[in-house]
């Protein structure tokens, strides 16, 4: 059957109008992947189309692109599987990367972020036997993150990177987790402290789940970030407003069975943080005038005592 591919082109050598959309029609069958289709266009219709690929089997991580607004590995996606009413597919380079030409992006910033998290084991001492022995179980636990093929697909669709390029980002944070959890590493505490305190560290993620949804390898970077938040708190990193936010939430539900929105705002800003509190005030005042300020006395779930019992039981078990 015939399909149309609408491809975002970019040629840095043109003096002006160097960005445009170009439509191509080609014949495909039900097994044709988007990568097959792109290669066919390059080979048979337009030799100037630039794209990057190597293994064609979702191992090398070279062919990440945005298709209809969502990042994917194009070698892992059949054209038919996302075709709707035979409308043309829109194909663009990955987001949040600088573009070299057409569908080829620069990976410089991707790898500089990986470098930022010290992506290698830093042992505390020399191994006694000439090598460090790690148990099977401890390594199996790391598999999720070790499956990462550095394709940049998660980085492309990360909502925070879209507004702030200081954010370390999903791929590098998932990599950081892998070393935080590795039993052979001797710098777990330092790593957690860095990731906790750093501008663009673990607390800057909005939990939007884009990276979990788009990652072709099941790395689920956000889940790794959440595990590091838990670990950072357990290691005593309690200075961030992110920590205060989750702590306040946890305690609000513990006490009232429900969320106390006023308390949450005050606790997250920190009761002594006058500028931040003032910053929150205007919206509070406006909301009050409109009759919708969160009640100062929080609502109570009828069974709040039962909820307290649950907390007690779970907290006792933890100790």
């Amino acid at each position: 059957m015939e399909v149309k591919l609408n491809i975002k082109r970019f040629d840095p050598e043109l003096p002006s109008d160097n960005e445009w959309w170009q439509e191509y029609s080609i014949q495909i069958n039900s097994n044709t992947t988007i990568l097959d289709a792109l290669i066919k266009i390059r080979d048979e219709i337009d030799g100037t189309l630039a794209l990057r690929c190597a293994c064609r089997a979702s191992i090398c991580g070279s062919c990440g692109m945005r298709v209809n607004g969502r990042a994917r590995l194009v070698c892992k996606t059949r054209v038919e599987s996302i075709l709707k009413n035979n409308e043309p597919l829109n194909i663009e380079p990955l987001g949040n990367h600088s573009i070299i030409r057409d569908l080829v992006v620069s990976l410089d910033s991707f790898f500089s972020k990986i470098d930022q998290v010290t992506p290698y084991i830093v042992p505390d001492s020399e191994p006694e036997t000439g090598e460090f022995i790690a148990s099977n179980e401890s390594m199996e636990n790391l598999l999720t993150s070790m499956n990462c093929i550095m394709c940049g697909v998660c980085v492309s669709d990360c909502t925070v990177l879209e507004v702030d390029n200081k954010f370390i980002g999903p791929a590098a944070l998932a990599k950081a987790w892998r070393f935080v959890e590795d039993p052979r590493d001797g710098k777990k505490e330092e790593r957690l402290r860095y990731l906790n305190d750093q501008d663009g560290g673990i607390w800057d993620c909005t939990r939007c789940m884009q990276c979990v949804e788009v990652c072709p390898k099941g790395v689920a970077p956000m889940d790794r970030i959440m595990e590091m938040r838990e670990s950072a708190i357990e290691s005593g990193n309690k200075s961030t407003s992110g920590y205060k936010h989750t702590e306040s939430f946890y305690n609000s539900v513990k006490k009232h069975g429900r969320l106390d929105e006023t308390r949450l705002a005050v606790d997250s800003a920190g009761i002594t943080n006058i500028p931040r509190l003032l910053d929150l005030a205007p919206i509070g005042m406006k909301a009050l005038l409109k009759g919708k300020l969160p009640p100062l006395i929080p609502h109570k779930a009828e069974d709040k005592e039962k909820i307290k019992d649950i907390y007690k039981k779970v907290e006792e078990k933890k100790q």
Partner: protein, 296 residues
């Protein structure tokens, strides 16, 4: 139709107009509800940062209560939907984990067997009532109105926990609703984006950039309003829009943010006052006027 109703904290706190408008619309649609007053907050994914299992216990407890009543659980918040669906998804995948949680719930005489369904009002209308039935309650088509959908992360991701495979309409439920009113769906970059609320108190600068981008983009794409099934998105996109737009676009907050039941109510011809449209931070006057011109 009868449901176990879980309104969530925000509809009973910071966004009372959501609770009120949902109640009115549900009554018009003959949706009977029993409110789960003994349920706790879902944790909204925030409590889960400190202790995911605690969050799962609280949500499985609520699911067990609905199961005991033999009812599908009805929510009116994307975040409630997502957080409960994720907890449900985790225990359904791992029976040992479910046993551990049931062990904690035993003291209260509760046990979850894994049968409860959780549906946002938006999904319940599409899946259980049907858009054709809904349309019969509308007074006229909202032709000429342009509405930009804003789902909220938890209503669209992760798609496996939300069972998109089993219910393919969920992926475009909001577009389907907007089309059913006769309005046009605005195509813009915000539809499935993050509103920034989770980092509002942590990195306000980034959060406000998101608010400004999405509301500004909706405006540039010709929308008369944004429609959302999530009160937390509403809180950020509405409440912080003036500050966000001033700071990042040097313009005024002019993009009204409408809750899903408010849109349905307007199409049913219910008054703006009953729907609480005067309670928003960003004025809804212009869009309501436009709708009144169409419906009168």
């Amino acid at each position: 139709m009868k449901y176990a109703f879980f309104p969530g904290c925000v509809a009973k706190g910071g966004a009372p107009e959501l609770y009120d408008s949902a109640k009115i619309v549900m009554e018009r649609l003959n949706i009977e509800v029993v409110e789960l007053t003994r349920a706790s907050c879902t944790g909204a994914g925030v409590l889960q940062e400190k202790d995911q299992k605690m969050g799962d216990i609280l949500n499985i407890r609520t699911l067990a209560m609905a199961e005991e009543m033999g009812l599908t659980m009805l929510v009116i918040c994307s975040t409630c939907q997502g957080v409960i669906s994720q907890a449900n998804h985790r225990v359904l995948k791992d029976s040992k984990y479910l046993d551990e949680i049931n062990e904690v719930l035993r003291d209260e005489g509760l046990k979850y067997n894994g049968t409860t369904k959780v549906k946002h009002l938006l999904w319940a209308i599409i899946e259980d009532i049907g858009l054709e039935e809904l349309k019969k309650t509308f007074v006229s088509e909202l032709k000429g109105l342009e509405l930009a959908p804003f789902y909220g992360c938890y209503m669209v991701r992760p798609s496996d926990a939300l069972e998109f495979n089993q219910y393919p309409n969920r992926e475009n439920s909001l577009e389907l609703l907007i089309e059913s009113t006769g309005a046009t769906v605005t195509k813009y970059s915000g539809t499935t984006a993050c509103c920034g609320f989770p980092i509002l108190f942590i990195n306000q600068e980034n959060s406000l950039k998101m608010v400004s981008n999405h509301t500004g983009n909706a405006k540039d794409s010709g929308a008369n309003a944004i429609v959302t099934p999530c009160p937390l998105c509403h809180l950020n996109l509405d409440g912080y829009q003036p500050k966000a737009r001033r700071k990042n676009r040097k313009d005024k907050a002019d993009m009204p943010i409408i809750h899903v039941p408010q849109l349905i109510g307007l199409a049913m011809g219910i008054s703006k006052k009953e729907l609480g449209l005067q309670k928003h931070i960003v004025s809804t006057k212009d869009v309501v006027k436009k709708i009144e011109e169409i419906t009168l």
